[in-house]
Symmetry: D2
């Protein structure tokens, strides 16, 4: 099992954060990290089974979407090394959004994943991407 | 909080059970309990936000669908007494499917719910419906 | 179903926050809210089944403790109005601790509950207590 | 990530099944699989942090116990090959008990785990043990 966990607090209401994150086909909030999204197939971006290719390299499928708990799960089916299908399998990525109701308020966002095989280099690689996505989410939503 | 919990074992593989249950717009497997399904709006039956009216009386919305864990969540937004919107609110129904891998095999299916208000009569009413749906699921799939 | 949800960010590592919260018999971190803890029975404070009386009025039992996910669940078995056993039942309180790994760091703490009966006044009452506990946790740990 | 999943239906009420499983220090219900349990340290068998050595070889720690959901989590900290600490790490085992309320009744029991490293041989090895434990649980409780 490889695993990586990242989380951040964003000064934006949870509804607005989830609205950005729940569309699997729209990563326009992360222009510095995701430069291209190709939609594959005809499922909508909030329909499990939806597929996308990010940056021409990451082939991903949406597996679960939960509007009550503001959570989604997806797989990486094929990717560049070290997350190619020859190196890792059963890759599950998770995104979760929770309101911060007291203190300074805002929203707590988690992005974490686990997979089979190639533990260390994939963990470092994925950590970099997800930390980058969360920083960009914060920047996009707060400004 | 009102609550009800029902579960059953069906002698059919989990994939086949989930395939029947995951389409919010198709209850043809329960002809004795659900005589009519009206689809509302244009969302697909596996897309959170999908809406349906059952038996002309239960207005329901799909909130979460998880193909990895074979789980779905929906709400009753309006219904006949004792689950009318004047009597209960925040109604969440859950369906969960798990394989039985050892012993006699088969599939374990849970159907449970919780809501705000009108605890006892709603619990009895919902228990009757969900127990009926699970018995019918078993009958349809096993025969 | 009555429900209440509160959460806060504390500028202290998750391990230190969980260490404070996981002992059901020690609320010395909340001196302004909890002035007295009576331990009932002989179970340790991290052993499900442990019982306590807070401020001479709230009789509570620990039901679950999870050191991996840093979560605990407890019940209120008897309390003052509006959470007396004549007014509410099946009261479940939950505490959850998650690290904030990016941005300004810190720890995200959730305190939420649900119960049967007496929805509105119990919700307002419990919200006040849990918001107070979280604010005090933050104050104690940060200073 | 290595993973293994096993489940069974036992014709005994869920309370009785959980009562057998929740004591980390008592595996007397599995005499053909577990011939020896050494308790390590002074924590009770239902207290997270409790430690045991099974068959002189599996060093395990209880991490979570949930009496409401009838679930527990433990780690293997050291074991024989292929689950030695040189071969696998972050080993989490989970046990979950759910009532079957309709049809023939009984109780659904899941035993599943995940870990880092040594995926295939550890999966086969662990599957054999957990399937054996579940079969023995069924035999002990039903007869």
């Amino acid at each position: 099992m490889g695993k990586t966990y990242q989380s951040i607090v964003v000064n934006t209401p949870a509804e607005a954060v989830w609205e950005k994150l729940r569309d699997f086909h729209d990563l326009s909030w992360a222009p510095d990290v995701i430069t291209n999204v190709d939609v594959v197939g005809d499922k909508a971006g909030d329909q499990p089974g939806a597929r996308r290719v990010l940056n021409g390299a990451f082939h991903e499928t949406l597996h679960a979407l939960d509007d009550d708990n503001r959570e989604l799960t997806y797989s990486i089916d094929e990717g560049p090394s070290p997350v190619s299908s020859g190196e890792v399998s059963s890759y599950e990525g998770h995104v979760r959004v929770r309101p911060v109701t007291e203190g300074d308020g805002g929203t707590f966002v988690e992005w974490y994943s686990q997979w089979k095989g190639n533990d260390e280099s994939a963990a470092e690689f994925c950590h970099g991407i997800y930390a980058g996505l969360l920083e960009q989410l914060k920047k996009t939503l707060e400004h």
